[in-house]
């Protein structure tokens, strides 16, 4: 896979937090629940980051808006800590449910960032209007911020406010990039093949529609 700057910086971000003795904050955003593929992709990335924070003995804080995501994240992080051989460092209270309301969630996470002053912030998942609030507050505490979302609007805010941004499907490719797991890499390859096929179809349809505007075989 080609280099993805935001993912290369994960190790640096966790290392920075360890050196500064400040926590890492990871949040999957308000916009998605557990059934959303972006949330699952985000939890995959969480698994790798949790393993690193366990190895480096760095606190990982994970606030979320959904109690099911909280429950799954607790299991994911517990497993990651166990895999790193540091099961005793896992703290269930650091993986917490804050509020289902969008700006209740934003206010809670904003407050956590301001009080805990994390050295590194991961904003990976589905975000809506709270994205810029979280990114700007992260800036004010001097955190390195790695963001990634499937929302095209919030991407613009993240690109302006964060140090690294994963654009769209890079979030889905991230877990393959970090783990080098064969099945994930295979599905990333499948995505690439499908994209090429779609592109060929688009070019063909555009040419055909240009030559024969009355045709409709390419319409859905």
């Amino acid at each position: 896979m080609r280099e993805i700057a935001g993912l290369k910086a994960v190790e640096e971000a966790v290392g920075r937090a360890t050196e500064m003795a400040r926590p890492v904050l990871y949040t999957p955003g308000w916009g998605g629940d557990i059934q959303r593929p972006t949330t699952i992709a985000s939890l995959n990335i969480l698994s790798h980051i949790a393993e690193k924070t366990a190895q480096y003995d760095c606190r990982l804080v994970f606030p979320t808006h959904d109690p099911v995501i909280m429950a799954v994240a607790q299991e994911v992080v517990r497993e990651s800590y166990a895999r790193a051989g540091q099961g005793d460092r896992f703290s269930e209270d650091d993986i917490c449910y804050v509020s289902s309301s969008q700006f209740g969630y934003a206010a809670a996470v904003e407050g956590m960032i301001t009080r805990l002053k994390p050295a590194s912030i991961f904003l990976l998942g589905t975000f809506e209007a709270e994205s810029l609030i979280l990114a700007e507050v992260g800036n004010t505490v001097g955190a390195i911020q790695i963001a990634g979302t499937d929302s095209t609007i919030q991407l613009a805010f993240f690109i302006v406010a964060c140090d690294y941004t994963l654009i769209g499907e890079e979030v889905f490719a991230a877990s393959g990039y970090l783990s080098q797991d064969a099945s994930i890499l295979a599905s990333v390859r499948a995505q690439d093949v499908l994209k090429i096929l779609i592109a060929i179809f688009l070019v063909g349809a555009i040419l055909w529609a240009t030559i024969d505007p009355t045709s409709g075989w390419w319409r859905f």
């Binding site: 916009g31 309301s101 969008q102 700006f103 809506e128 209007a129 004010t140 929302s151 095209t152 609007i153």
Partner: protein
């Protein structure tokens, strides 16, 4: 506390918005093609047509959503359209009910005959798909606890086939689910009134025809108020919004001036 650059930017914004709001000037607003399309769509529906309106927003966006919702409700109710209100977000339920009731009172309309509000249903994807099968089974009672069958407006309404379309009043991406599930699966015509931040999210759907019409933001509300010739808070806020835009443009210019000056100093050094 020492004020930093961003604090001055915040204070400047407060000053600009406060002064322009106090001036109370309502500039004329030219409606855009999108707003005219929505207006034309609702205007073309015969009196008595049943539309579903979904209040898919939270309380936080009320200052922006309320002008949009009121403009739509005034237009629809003045045209004699019959409205079925639903909500896929809990906070939008009470707000939607109140907006519908207040607007209906302006036109002397009767609950149960001219409009109803069915209330909130959690798990929005399940709710949208379920309404496509049976509205009465999804909502056995309305928001006030009346039985579905007891409401005259709902007699003959079983599912989406019996409504002309769905209008989603949203501050987030819930309208996407209306398009993906109600529109794609059941062929419902979906239109939306959305906050300005969501306009570009739905542009691709509007361009491809998956969404029929869309009005966005406070500006859209002001445009719609102009078309229905009823003033509202959308028009009132236009000068402040324009001033805030100009202020942000100035901040961008100032930011770049600072950047280039620092860069040239570093090069000289």
């Amino acid at each position: 506390m020492r004020l930093q650059g961003r604090h001055w930017a915040f204070l400047g914004l407060i000053a600009v918005v406060t002064v322009t709001m106090l001036l109370g000037i309502r500039p004329a607003v030219v409606p855009s093609a999108d707003t005219e399309r929505m207006y034309g769509y609702l205007d073309s529906l015969p009196a008595g047509t049943v539309l579903m309106v979904s209040f898919d927003h939270e309380a936080s966006s009320l200052p922006e959503i309320a002008p949009l919702a009121q403009a739509f409700l005034r237009h629809a109710m003045s045209r004699g359209l019959r409205l079925i209100g639903v909500s896929l977000l809990a906070e939008g339920t009470g707000i939607g009910y109140r907006l519908m009731s207040q607007t209906a009172d302006e036109y002397g309309l009767k609950y149960g005959t001219d409009y109803v509000h069915l209330g909130f249903k959690p798990q929005y994807i399940a709710a949208i798909l379920s309404m496509g099968e049976s509205l009465s089974k999804t909502y056995p009672e309305d928001y006030s606890g009346n039985e579905y069958g007891a409401l005259p407006l709902l007699s003959g309404i079983s599912n989406y086939d019996d409504v002309a379309g769905v209008v989603s009043i949203a501050d987030g991406s819930l309208t996407t689910h209306w398009i993906e599930y109600a529109g794609a699966r059941y062929g419902v015509r979906v239109s939306a009134f959305v906050t300005a931040a969501m306009v570009t999210t739905y542009d691709p759907y509007l361009a491809s025809g998956q969404m029929y019409a869309m009005v966005g933001g406070l500006r859209g509300a002001a445009e719609y108020e102009g078309l229905i010739e009823i003033g509202g808070s959308g028009t009132r806020a236009m000068l402040a919004q324009t001033a805030a835009h100009v202020y942000v443009i100035l901040l961008i210019i100032i930011g770049n001036v600072i950047y280039f000056r620092l860069r040239s100093k570093r090069r000289e050094a």
